[in-house]
């Protein structure tokens, strides 16, 4: 579709332009197809209209989600309702592989995503068609080009108590935990803040404005790209790993030196 449109327009331009665009278009389509079809048997090219997208999403939901979330997404004993959670929640839960859940437990863990992005978008479109909910944000709000210092302060105030000031994650109660925040997709960070998945509280746009969310994402991005200046961070876990290191390696080394100093020379 893209290439035919380009062809039509190219009539008024350089004759070779059409060929060039056709080649680019073919490569792009092929590339997207190759990237999205991996591991999924029945992957099609992305549905063209919203209606088709919703239909595709409904089929995927029936096949993969309805056993827990109910045939109409109304929820069941083993899963909550998805009515009104919005496309952003679907993007986060399915995009990070948390859904479908591998097994019921205190917390759904992050794992490789089972669906391709077009399929996730289709699922999201169907869920969004059930009831209004948070939708996908403008890409400008997760471009990670915001104010890193402000993001760091917001992170310390709102996120660091659970996720650790360096984003290393931490434990909660009864087997639940706050996951680490290293090398995440910015859209997933944004989605988590807006939708408040699982134990996480909601940070809606009135609490952290979209610009502030971008600042937080920028801070996390900065942490990913800049190494610790102090040498080995030992997982940035603070006194536990650092204490273990200094008690075993540090004190052990001192004891070894003391033994060597006082031992009788051979």
């Amino acid at each position: 579709m893209t290439s035919s449109k380009a062809n039509r327009r190219s009539g008024r331009r350089h004759p070779m332009m059409g060929v060039l665009l056709l080649v680019i278009g073919l490569f792009a389509t092929g590339g997207v197809y190759a990237a999205t079809s991996a591991g999924i048997a029945h992957a099609d090219t992305p549905p063209e209209s919203t209606l088709a997208l919703v239909d595709e999403g409904e089929r995927l939901f029936m096949a993969n989600c309805a056993s827990c979330h109910g045939l109409n997404g109304e929820g069941a004993q083993s899963g909550p309702t998805v009515i009104g959670v919005g496309a952003l929640s679907v993007d986060f839960q399915v995009g990070t592989g948390r859904m479908p859940m591998a097994a019921s437990g205190p917390q759904a863990a992050k794992k490789p995503a089972q669906f391709t992005q077009p399929q996730i978008d289709a699922l999201g479109a169907w869920v969004a068609s059930l009831a209004p909910g948070p939708g996908l944000p403008d890409p400008a709000y997760y471009a990670a080009d915001g104010d890193v210092a402000n993001g760091a302060e917001l992170f310390r105030v709102n996120c660091a108590m659970c996720h650790n000031v360096a984003g290393a994650g931490g434990a909660l109660t009864e087997g639940k935990y706050a996951p680490h925040l290293r090398d995440l997709e910015p859209i997933h960070v944004y989605g988590a803040m807006v939708t408040g998945p699982q134990s996480m509280p909601v940070f809606n746009d009135m609490n952290l404005s979209p610009e502030e969310k971008n600042d937080v994402i920028s801070y996390l991005n900065y942490m990913d790209e800049n190494p610790s200046v102090g040498g080995f961070s030992l997982g940035s876990l603070g006194p536990v790993s650092e204490g273990l290191f200094i008690w075993i390696i540090g004190l052990g080394g001192l004891i070894a030196v003391a033994i060597w100093l006082t031992a009788r020379s051979n």
Binding site: E153, L154, V157, N158, M161, C162, G170, L172, T173, E174, K176, A178, G196, Q198, S199, M200, P201, V202, F203, N204, M206, N207, N226, P227, S228, V229, G230, G231, W260, L261, R264, S265, N266
Partner: protein, 352 residues
Amino acid sequence: MADKPPSTDLVAGSSQDDNDPGTAVVPSEGLTNPGLPPEHLRVTDLDPKEEKKAERRIAFFFTLSIVGSVGAAMAYVVFPIIPGDMQSVRFNNMFVGLFAAVGLLGVGIGAVHWAKSLMHGHELVEERHPTRGTEESRSAAIETFAQANKESGFTRRSLVRNTLIGAMIATPVPAVVLFRDLAPSYDPVKLLKQTMWAEGVRLAKDPSGIPIKASEVTIGSAFQVIPEGLAELEYHRIEEKAKAAVLLMRLPIDELNVSPERETWSYQGIVAYSKICTHVGCPVALYEQQTHHLLCPCHQSAFNVSNECEVIFGPAARPLPQLPITIDDEGYLVAQSDFTEPVGPSFWERRR
């Protein structure tokens, strides 16, 4: 009893009573000085080849130290700190540190190895000199004191002596008065019992200080809250924040169990609790949105927000104090009053 050591004897009386378990053993002949152990010769003392080897080893460590020290200086130049580039700081710190460590350790290890393997290793005995001085120096000291007393008249002129003692006692008085002022001039107990919250103070977002409307707090939300005006405080901002920090949450109303006297303290399921743990004052802000549990990161005290932050686990002694809130005519969340009890950990005057 036949294998009793020859140098000991049983305490009189106990040998007759075989049932007595407490047989004290006392030395009767005293301990004999075993003397110095026979001198131990090192391989470097015996074998000139080993001596040469040790010499080379020590020289190696000293050379290594030179390499380290020069290397540290070179690393500082080779890995300069580029402003804004954290990777450069990391390399600079790491390589300068590693080479400098080799420079210092090389000298230390070489010196110790030198002392242990090559330096003269014979043992010798050195007697301590006696603590008591000689009779002459002792009597000379007494004589000096007596002469000083005679010449100054310290014991004879009692008026001078007593006024001097009085003056010495009075000297530190100004210091006592001045240093006393270093203590807080106000009553710290009163400060511990009150915070910045008062009737009509708006709840504002931390750190921006923007007031929060009740409509902005959706279900499942958690807001980190400071009193409005705290962000603009010029003095004691941190101290005030440490007492007034509040966590604002909105729960589904049916999941909130409210006691009759607190029915007016929340607004449409929006509740505000002190963020300062009642154990030792860590910020309690690990809020689990689904279970409504609050967890303190320091000592794992857990509070149940559904039941007015009662303690469900851990060392905290009291529930977190609740801030009574309502809305003003513009829809902003405001405090009804200060906390009704002191926030944070117990203190002496609180007795609980």
